[in-house]
């Protein structure tokens, strides 16, 4: 199956985040209290190198596997949704030390707490789906 390459990439990404400690509660605690450079280095260097890739996508120097131009999807606009949604996510991230991808990775480390986080996240996405039309953008 051609999509199995995403399975391999998922395994790779999980190992990278685990080995670089970017799933550790302590690493995010020290990031939000500005007591260490580690996570800023991880995220900052990932963003800077990705910027170079984005330029290569834009200029067409790197095309996708089918030879098509790579165009990242534009993010939905909205000042309230991004700021308020971002803040709510930040609250959950700051308390639990988990962002979206790490929740799945942490299952391998701390199974039951990660399952509780995952059930919560699905519940949160479900609540968003129910009221998405009524929320300010």
């Amino acid at each position: 199956m051609k999509n199995s390459r995403f399975l391999i990439l998922g395994i790779f990404f999980a190992i990278v985040l685990s080995k670089t400690q970017a799933i550790s509660w302590y690493r995010f605690y020290e990031m939000f209290t500005f007591q260490s450079f580690h996570m800023f280095g991880v995220i900052g260097s990932a963003v800077v190198i990705s910027m170079v890739f984005m330029q290569l996508f834009k200029s067409g120097k790197i095309k996708d596997i089918n030879g098509n131009k790579i165009v990242p999807k534009p993010k939905k606009k909205g000042i309230i949704s991004t700021l308020l949604g971002g803040t709510l996510f930040g609250l959950g991230w700051g308390i639990s030390g988990a962002c979206a991808a790490p929740i799945f990775i942490i299952l391998g480390f701390e199974l039951i707490p990660a399952l509780i986080l995952l059930v919560g996240a699905l519940l949160g996405a479900f609540i968003y789906g129910l009221c998405s039309k009524k929320l300010p953008n």
Binding site: L9, G85, F89, G120
Partner: protein, 185 residues
């Protein structure tokens, strides 16, 4: 082999995250993680309750395989690749955490005070994890992305909504670590 078992510094981890993004786009899809929360809702039948979830989840089979990979990779890392979970924390951080009641700061990835059996089997500890999860699921979907989709993909492609979202992530994260954690523990 020795290198594999040591903790990786930021200048190895960051570039490898960027390479993961590159491969994800090279394989023809948009890099991100939090849309999967919606896809999983659709798979367990949320479409019966709300039209928002009436989507064909099979169109996101690639992302679900990525998620399965994340789970497998987490188990591989936890079981085989991290013989020592100790984290080299700033002594100031360790002291600060000790004052809050977090013992043995940084001797493993996850503090017992949140992830230990005694914590999650108490009502308070269970709710701390569940509500954090709800905030993560709701917040990422409302904002339209998480650390992967906004902070890495969005910032690197110079998208303004992602900058606002990341500012939000930090407002929330700072409120949580500076004010809520001392209140909760």
């Amino acid at each position: 082999m020795d290198f594999i078992l040591q903790p990786w510094p930021w200048y190895i981890g960051g570039p490898l995250i960027a390479i993961s993004l590159l491969l994800y786009f090279y394989f023809g899809k948009n890099f991100g993680a939090s849309t999967n929360f919606e896809t999983l809702c659709t798979m367990v039948g949320a479409g019966k309750v709300s039209d928002y979830f009436k989507k064909d989840w099979k169109e996101r089979d690639f992302a679900l395989l990525f998620v399965i990979g994340l789970i497998i990779g987490g188990f591989i890392a936890a079981i085989y690749l991290i013989p020592n979970q100790a984290i080299d924390l700033n002594p100031k951080t360790v002291q600060e955490l000790a004052d809050l009641g977090f013992s043995n700061g940084g001797n493993q990835y996850f503090p017992n005070e949140i992830f230990g059996v005694e914590a999650f089997s108490s009502i308070k500890g269970f709710l701390i994890l569940l509500v954090s999860g709800v905030l993560i699921g709701f917040g990422t979907r409302y904002a339209g992305g998480c650390t992967s989709g906004h902070a890495i993909t969005g910032l690197s492609s110079l998208q303004l909504p992602s900058l606002l979202a990341v500012i939000g992530f930090f407002i929330g994260g700072i409120i949580a670590t500076w004010y809520l954690i001392p209140l909760l523990f």
